[in-house]
Symmetry: C2
């Protein structure tokens, strides 16, 4: 996979909440995973150690800012962080709010499904996701140094 066929080179990968010089913050708005946010490095590199240390710090600082906003807005029981890239080897982080009663808990969201989610709860969390998206956009408008 290279620049010509990588989906994260060809597209943003979801609704873009912030676009910096080196990375972007994406809300994929996946129905099953309300509040899941991705931080995508613009350049087509596969691993954290393909970045120089200052770039790694910038990326992880951004991941932590997103984690912090997710915790404040969505008040999950746990945060999951992951960078895999087995299917799309273009460096990107998943920041995932988890709840004890979400469909996959305590498994990672890539594991076996444990239960169906209650519809009213799903609705509530999808509403929270909208607030989350606004909160992330607002943060990065008012903190332009993180670019």
């Amino acid at each position: 996979m290279n620049l010509n066929d990588c989906p994260l080179c060809l597209t943003d990968g979801g609704h873009c909440l912030y676009r910096g010089d080196h990375l972007r913050i994406i809300a994929p708005q996946e129905l099953e995973f309300p509040g899941l946010i991705r931080v995508v490095w613009h350049q087509h590199l596969a691993e954290m150690t393909d970045l120089i240390p200052t770039q790694r710090s910038h990326l992880m600082m951004t991941v932590c800012i997103v984690e912090d906003i997710i915790r404040k807005v969505m008040q999950p029981d746990k945060i999951n962080l992951a960078a895999f890239g087995n299917v799309v080897p273009h460096l990107h982080w998943h920041i995932i709010p988890r709840w004890h009663n979400d469909p996959y808990f305590p498994n990672p969201i890539w594991g076996a499904k444990q239960r169906e989610v209650i519809e009213v709860q799903q609705e509530w969390r999808k509403n929270q996701e909208k607030q989350l998206m606004s909160a992330i956009e607002e943060y990065f408008v008012s903190h332009p140094q993180v670019s």
Copy 2:
């Protein structure tokens, strides 16, 4: 779960390759996942954003050093990084070398198994794991500033 019943407070969580003031590096030596290494924060905290920024940097710098050594010694096709803590909410990172022909690829190791591993290959990777463990120990002996 608290200090009294948390397995990462009560035990190291595997063979300890390095013990710093704030974190330790563990080789769980799991048969199915040769080369999987964990970096465990000593203090019982759940999330990256429960740490102060200098602690986050120290932890991720250590994760990246381990990733770098894994890539050099085991030459995997991909590295997977994850911090979940759904079962044990005590901050720890998984650094996982992945190969196109490993049992779960391209799924995360928490996903559905895709194939059985070839025994001779497994044996070879378990040998590489021993070299990896030595390399990590040696690195941290000769770089005591990372503690």
